[in-house]
């Protein structure tokens, strides 16, 4: 027994399929009612030995011992067993399994079927995913489900993505849903944002980029509280369950190779003045054109933008050997950005294995993935000041300047060629995600499951601004500045669940109870240096790293922070006791002039108990109750545990006599639940806690260590944000479900809003972290319809459409908090949005602009003051339109996505495209020359720069052709495809792209809908091949 077990384990995990000596041969044909079935698994029971039927349904098995049992299995059919007697020819007719035909739906710690689901759940499987260049999994399902808004914040490779399920409910916390990959709930973070070396700070990359889209089998979106309450304090924003591909479909061993080559170019650029127009404009506004004439003619946008070919290759091997299956994959992606020096390279490897032991009583799953993501970013930032970032400097740049890195304007203007040449930003992130689970059937009706997960990510981002760069007023010019950020995340998970099912005469009961423990460790170092003493980037990075290592090694006591500079080496100690500015002996070999380092390391834990009860009566009445108790180290001692209940009822109305025959499906769903959001809480915000603030290096290299002080005030009542959601929905189907769809209405109330409020001074810090007695309401309606217009063997045509409407409002809030920071020359302290009661989140608060007076000065008919203008950044409607058509070996897909009702604040135009800008010798777009503005006008924040952000985008269109290789020779299948992404966008917005969200938070309140030197989006054509063999 033990040997047998060992052998099976080895077989299972080392993916050896076994060939065994043979003496007797059995053959036959497997078919179903419509003819021979290819690909059916035929194995000897209790072993892994077997084969698959060929295209004609035929199989041959050697070495069949007499008395053996043959098992015939195929997805969607009932498994049959046949005892081998003396006969050598065994033909089998497989019967479709009605229960299995129903698509399986993941619901968190378990599965159900579409038919039995009680919550608002949408599954998008891999065949429906968006194609082309995909840098992270959210993009695969953009527009595929009503009520789910997925927007990329910019066009940069690996840019952050916002997913909003049924509106935005949290004022300051993360509003993204919980992502669960193969049973492991992921935590946020893991990538470092760009440090501000002088051109503004930048966003962190999307941490989900580590998943290879080719490895994803399906993504399931849990939208309502009755479905997400099982995830308790992390369920309020919805849940997205990602399932990676297994080897199930790889009977007999199948290799799959996918390769895509994509050509990308910038979809839209600004209409900047060319050389002659520019010189004319200088004269027009009263300047001396000859003083600004540098003799060249440079199109600066052409200097920084480029046309690139990205590549995406993936190879996988899958094998289903009956008692288990295995899939191993390798992926390599090199996505090049349309701005110079931007790219994302991803190397991913994954092994998913499943094996069953003891007559299938024990099922062991192991998923291991490793990824390496290398990011290269240009200086495109969110908060650049009066000089701009790379894009800002490009818009500003005088077109008569030469495209020459040695050129300097001499008056503090940045030369874009220098920003390309003298700035480097490289990041690499290694991530391992491992989960092991074992499910054991203790009894026929009782299953126990253990799920262990481990998720570790190590990321390092190194930015260098070389000394050669001209024009920076922070000491970077002439000295060089650098930053090295190490961000590490280590999460561990243990889930234990028991699942009991019991069938009664007319009803079925299923009970799940579980325990879950998850720990989240975040640790890392932030290093900044000045005076890099280097000839090139490599030397600068190595000087930075070496100096940090030398100093780190020389300090042999615990510390939070060090600073090395002209005055010596000093440290700040925080544990076990606080000591500031402790002088340390100077280590030898530090090659930079000044350097500071700051460490952090903290761990949070989450411990949960949960249960779910499903009860089905007469296959018509479905009840679900769930309860989760979440204990979190982020909650204050008075609220250590949160309880999150939900209930749902579904009714299969089509089975009732009073429903007209015309309905092939009509299901009513009712649900109510309470869920939480603990993401905004962070570590240790309920306890009085001290740390040193960040260290700084002044423009002359003098190091100022951080100040010690409280970073949190005691608040034993601190807790999660709570969302109560009620929903009602109908699933409908006509014409034998050729026409299907759903309608949902929901109402969400979020209370106990987490907010950093202004502290009642005197206090240790300007803000106090607490739960507010205010509400955010989201209510909306979702509608989806899908019609198989043509369903014939050779021709299929399907059309799908979904649309949703959401309304948002803040209630009972007695403060006013500014957000939506506006940057640019003369815009210090400017903001565009205000959080206030009775208004939606992200409501614009602006001067009402009434044109220019005769002198070209702005008129504000309501006065030179900001006010609510009745517009906000949240879309009212989001929609998706898709169609797929196939004819014989050809297939065609098109997909459009749209958003309506949202407004964009065009901070780019506010900062770069005004008359004052041309009057300071910097370039503008042509419109500025004729709009009547005086160069002396102050372009204050007003509705002048507020624009409608409606859009309809042809997101994806693809044509594919399957070559007729099946069964002949090497290849099993071979498909060629051509995909276009972002071929057009219909929008009134004057900026580069209406799907934009530059993070411009203020007062710790995030913003939305602001466009500031956003990385433009690409138009992409992809040629792809996909082959199995």
């Amino acid at each position: 027994m033990k040997q047998n077990l060992l052998r099976k384990v080895i077989f299972g995990f080392l993916f050896l399929t076994v060939g065994i000596l043979h003496s007797q041969t059995i053959n036959g044909i497997v078919s179903d009612n419509s003819g021979p079935l290819p690909g059916v698994n035929v194995i000897f029971k209790g072993t892994t030995n077997g084969t698959q039927t060929d295209l004609d349904g035929k199989y041959i098995l050697d070495n069949a011992p007499s008395g053996a049992v043959l098992v015939f299995s195929f997805v969607g059919y009932k498994t049959q067993e046949v005892i081998v007697g003396v006969q050598t020819n065994i033909n089998v007719n497989l019967v479709e399994d009605a229960a299995l035909l129903d698509e399986v739906v993941l619901i968190g710690y378990g599965t159900t079927t579409v038919k039995d689901a009680t919550g608002a759940v949408t599954t998008v499987s891999s065949e429906d995913f968006n194609g082309g260049v995909i840098s992270s999994p959210e993009q695969l399902i953009q527009g595929k489900s009503a009520g789910v808004q997925i927007s990329q914040s910019s066009g940069a490779p690996g840019a952050g993505i916002a997913v909003r399920i049924r509106g935005t409910s949290s004022v300051r916390s993360n509003n993204n849903p919980l992502f669960v990959v193969d049973g492991i709930p992921l935590s946020d973070g893991g990538t470092a944002g760009a440090a501000n070396l002088g051109g503004g700070g930048g966003s962190a990359k999307n941490p989900l980029s580590f998943l290879n889209p080719n490895d994803i089998e399906s993504m399931t979106i849990l939208k309502d509280a009755s479905a997400t309450a099982i995830y308790g304090s992390r369920g309020a924003n919805g849940v997205v369950i990602i399932t990676t591909k297994s080897g199930k479909k790889g009977s007999g061993g199948v290799f799959e190779f996918t390769s895509n080559q994509s050509l990308s170019s910038v979809a839209k650029t600004y209409d900047l003045l060319d050389r002659e127009q520019y010189l004319g404009a200088i004269t027009q506004f009263g300047g001396d054109a000859s003083a600004l004439e540098f003799g060249s003619s440079t199109n600066w946008q052409n200097v920084i933008f480029r046309e690139v070919i990205s590549t995406d290759n993936a190879l996988s091997y899958a094998n289903n050997y009956g008692a288990g299956n295995i899939r191993a994959s390798f992926g390599y992606v090199n996505q090049l950005g349309i701005i110079e020096n931007s790219s994302q390279e991803r190397i991913t490897g994954r092994v998913n294995a499943t094996h069953k032991f003891f007559d299938d009583k024990l099922k062991v799953d192991a998923n291991l993935s490793y990824s390496r993501v290398n990011d290269e970013s240009p200086m495109v930032t969110n908060t650049s000041g009066s000089q701009g970032d790379l894009l800002g400097a490009t818009y500003f740049a005088n077109p008569t300047w030469p495209n020459d890195v040695n050129f300097t304007s001499g008056d503090g203007k940045l030369n874009p060629a220098q920003l390309l040449e003298y700035y480097q930003d490289l990041a690499n992130t290694d991530r391992v995600l491992l989960n092991l689970s074992g499910e054991y059937s203790i009894l026929e009706s009782l299953k126990a499951k253990v799920n262990l997960g481990f998720d570790e990510s190590n990321s390092e981002r190194a930015q260098i601004l070389s000394a050669e760069v001209d024009g920076f007023n922070n000491g970077a010019s002439g000295n060089g500045r650098g930053s090295l950020q190490q961000v590490n995340v280590k999460n561990k998970l243990m889930d234990l669940t028991l699942n009991y099912t019991k069938a009664f005469d007319n009803s079925n009961l299923e009970i799940l109870v579980g325990y879950s423990y998850q720990s989240f460790q975040n640790y890392g170092t932030s290093i900044n240096a000045f005076g890099l003493n280097a000839q090139n980037f490599n030397q600068a990075v190595s000087n930075l790293e070496n100096s940090a290592n030398i100093i780190g090694n020389a300090i042999n006591v615990p510390y939070q922070q060090y600073g090395y500079g002209p005055n010596g080496l000093f440290i700040n100690q925080i544990i076990p006791e606080i000591n500031s500015n402790v002088s340390m002996p100077l280590p030898a070999g530090v090659s930079v002039k000044s350097i500071t380092g700051d460490l952090y390391n903290n761990t949070d834990e989450l411990q949960s108990f949960f249960t779910r009860l499903n009860y089905k009566i007469a296959d018509k009445y479905l009840f679900t109750f769930t309860l989760r108790a979440d204990g979190s180290t982020r909650f204050g001692p008075n609220n250590q545990y949160g309880y999150f209940p939900s209930g749902a009822f579904a009714w299969q109305l089509q089975d009732e006599d009073f429903i007209p025959e015309g309905f092939s499906t009509l299901k009513l769903r009712l649900g109510y639940g309470i869920t939480g959001n603990q993401d905004g809480l962070g570590y240790g915000n309920f306890i009085s806690r001290q740390r040193f603030s960040g260290a700084g290096i002044a423009n002359d290299g003098v190091v100022n260590l951080g100040n010690g002080g409280f970073v949190a005030f005691a608040n034993p009542n601190l807790k999660w944000e709570e969302t109560a959601q009620a929903g009602i929905g109908f699933d409908y189907g006509f014409f034998d479900d050729r026409l299907t769809g759903s309608i949902d209405i929901y109402h969400k109330t979020t209370t106990d809003l987490l907010l950093q409020q202004e502290a009642a001074q005197p206090a240790v810090q300007p803000f106090v972290f607490s739960n507010l007695d205010a509400k955010v309401i989201n209510k909306g309606i979702e509608f989806a319809i899908n019609y198989d217009v043509i369903r014939r063997p050779d021709v299929n045509w399907n059309v799908g459409f979904n649309i949703s409407y959401n309304e948002n409002e803040v209630q009972d809030f007695d403060g006013l908090i500014q957000t939506g920071q506006i940057n640019g020359n003369g815009l210090t302290g400017a903001y565009a949005q205000l959080l206030a009661q009775g208004q939606p989140l992200f409501s614009y608060y602006l001067r009402e602009f009434g044109g220019f007076d005769a002198d070209g000065i702005s008129i504000y008919p309501n006065g030179d003051k900001q006010e609510f203008v009745g517009k906000n950044a949240l879309p009212d409607y989001i929609l998706g339109i898709s169609t797929s058509f196939s004819y014989k070996r050809f297939d065609f897909n098109a997909f459009l996505t749209g958003q309506y009702g949202q407004y964009i604040y065009n901070n780019t135009a506010n900062a770069f495209f005004t008359a004052g800008v041309i009057n300071s010798g910097q370039n503008v777009i042509t419109k500025v020359l004729t709009n009547g503005e005086s160069p002396a006008n102050a372009p204050d924040v007003s509705t002048r720069f507020l624009e409608k952000g409606d859009f309809l985008r042809l997101q994806n269109v693809s044509v594919g052709y399957r070559l007729p290789f099946e069964g002949s020779g090497f290849f099993k299948t071979f498909r060629l495809s051509l995909t276009g992404q972002n071929l057009f966008v219909i929008t009134p917005y004057s900026g580069l792209d209406p799907e934009v969200d530059t993070p411009k938070s203020l007062n710790n309140i995030p913003s939305s809908g602001i466009d500031y030197t956003s990385y433009p989006r690409a138009k992409t054509y992809t040629f792809g091949i996909n082959a199995t063999f």
Binding site: L5, I282, A289, A291, L292, L362, S386, Q387, G410, D411, I442, F472, N473, G475, S477, L496, Y515, Y517, I574, I575, I578, S580, N581, Y600, N602, E605, Q607, T633, Y683, G684, I687, R689, F692, A698, D700, V702, G708, G709, A714, P716, E758, A759, A760, Q761, P762, A763, V764, L816, N825, G826, G829, A830, Y831, I857, T914, G916, G921, A936, A938, D940
Partner: protein, 506 residues
């Protein structure tokens, strides 16, 4: 075997149920006692933090500096097309149209009060600070309280044991004044007795005495009474005590604003002086250690410039100007950047006449069209710290003996007793600064002299209020609301603490 597996599962299940106690560990921060009771702070680290906070407060051109200077007749920040609009914060300060949501008013309130609280934590006996550490914290608490009294006329107070759910009590202007005086009086015995030197970036007896002199000189304004001879005698007494430690007027006006030790500096911070230099200079004016050029913002008014002796229309060398008005070099000396008041054509480091960014001559005009509608060369620029001494040198003077000297003159004028006369004291300073002697002094001439000596050093608003001139109209300011001698309590503070009452008029 199957049973083994079965029991293994069940035991793992139960093992899992032996739960964690959900406690966070202090791995990168220092926890106060878990009971939530105050258990003291590290006095040395917290003091460093307080000095650091003060450094940050002084070096920015926003907040404290802006409230004290841009609201006066000495400085303005005109909006220049796309530059310096900044949502109106600078215009509102100069033309006295600020309101309770003005960001500088809010930030300053928060910074000052936060510093007061952090000082209170150090002073608390549970922090176990040495007598000198406690005395330094008391000096810093008084420094911050002084500004609260001056700007807002009231000061909330929280003890270390009052948690976030307690609404802080509020001290009236008189109570807060007494509180600052008491802190300073208690601190003096334990503060070091420093003479002129490099260690004056920390509190000393003379810094405390200077602040006491400042408090008593302004007491009649803070209390809404008239000048009292006893208070004025205190001013004289404290200034004399400072002088007894070796502090005195020193010649070489612009050398006082460098890192070199002199007998005038009573208290300085390691704040970067970059903002003082570059916020006024034009984009094209530059120094080798600042490649970014100036920020082309802060400007003074022609009425203020005209208080100085010299040719009103030129400040190039040889225009008959007094030392403190500085000069505009036309021969490429001093990096091509002037000292004091920059007016007229500017020259670069080679002595060549400069042009602005669109090629027109860079001529700083005396007059401006107003707060709005300016081009990049309007307004007289004002510069005391010079890039020759480091574009971002970390040394800014906060208390200076010349101020103490003029405070003494004023105290005598307001009824204090001394062997010297105000005229002697004022002329002593003027002679040292190569300005002609006055024949008489009155309140106006003291105010003017303070302006000429102390421009850009944080005191103009305070002086104008004390001399009753703050509510008068001046260039580009028509508002004469008398209540604007106090700033409003920020609206966010009113929401967070119902004990606060908004100042009259707002």
């Amino acid at each position: 075997m199957k049973n083994t597996i079965k029991w293994l599962f069940i035991s793992v299940l139960f093992a899992g149920l032996s739960c964690t106690d959900l406690e966070i560990e202090p791995t990168d921060s220092n926890f106060d006692s878990l009971s939530g009771e105050f258990s003291g702070v590290d006095p040395a680290a917290s003091l460093d933090g307080l000095y650091g906070a003060m450094r940050g407060q002084i070096e920015t051109q926003e907040n404290l500096y802006a409230l004290a200077e841009v609201s006066s007749d000495e400085l303005m920040v005109p909006t220049r097309g796309t530059d310096w609009g900044d949502n109106g914060v600078w215009r509102n300060l100069h033309d006295h149209n600020w309101d309770a949501v003005h960001s500088f008013i809010k930030n300053t309130w928060n910074n000052l009060n936060q510093n007061v609280y952090n000082a209170t934590l150090i002073i608390d006996s549970r922090s176990g600070g040495s007598p000198q550490q406690v005395a330094e914290a008391k000096f810093l608490r008084a420094f911050n309280t002084y500004w609260l009294v001056d700007f807002y006329g009231q000061a909330p107070f929280r003890t270390p044991d009052e948690g976030p759910n307690v609404n802080p009590s509020v001290k009236t202007r008189a109570e807060a004044f007494d509180f600052a005086v008491q802190d300073l009086t208690e601190a003096i015995p334990d503060l070091p007795a420093s003479g002129p030197g490099k260690s004056l970036n920390r509190a000393s007896k003379v810094a405390a005495q200077y602040l006491l002199a400042k408090l008593y000189l302004n007491k009649f304004i803070f209390l809404g009474t008239s000048p009292d001879a006893a208070d004025m005698n205190k001013v004289i007494e404290y200034v004399d005590a400072i002088s007894a430690q070796g502090f005195a007027l020193e010649g070489g006006y612009f050398d006082l604003f460098t890192e070199a030790v002199n007998t005038e500096t009573i208290f300085f911070t390691n704040s970067s002086v970059g903002a003082r230099i570059w916020n006024t200079l034009h984009y094209k004016q530059n120094a080798p250690d600042n490649q970014g050029g100036g920020w082309n913002g802060f400007t003074t008014l022609s009425e203020f410039y005209d208080l100085f002796e010299g040719n009103p229309n030129s400040n190039e060398p040889g225009s008959g100007q007094e030392e403190r008005r500085g000069f505009v070099p036309n021969d490429g000396s001093n990096l091509g950047i002037g000292y004091g008041f920059l007016v007229g054509q500017q020259y670069d480091e080679t002595g060549t006449a400069m042009t602005d960014r669109t090629g027109n001559p860079l001529v700083f005009t005396k007059e401006l069209p107003g707060l709005l509608g300016n081009n990049e060369s309007t307004g007289i620029r004002i510069i005391k710290y010079h890039p020759e001494n480091g574009s971002f040198a970390s040394h800014e003077v906060v208390f200076r003996y010349a101020d103490a000297h003029l405070m003494k003159a004023e105290a005598i004028l307001r009824g204090g007793s001394s062997g010297r006369t105000p005229l002697q004291l004022v002329n002593e300073l003027r002679t040292l600064r190569s300005a002609s002697s006055l024949s008489t002094v009155n309140e106006q001439s003291i105010l003017d002299e303070r302006g000429r000596e102390l421009y850009g050093e944080l005191w103009r608003r305070n002086d104008q209020i004390r001399f009753g001139k703050f509510s008068e109209p001046w260039q580009y300011k028509t508002n004469t609301d008398p209540y604007r001698v106090l700033f409003p309590v920020p609206s966010t503070a009113l929401i967070s603490n119902p004990n606060l009452i908004q100042n009259p008029g707002y």
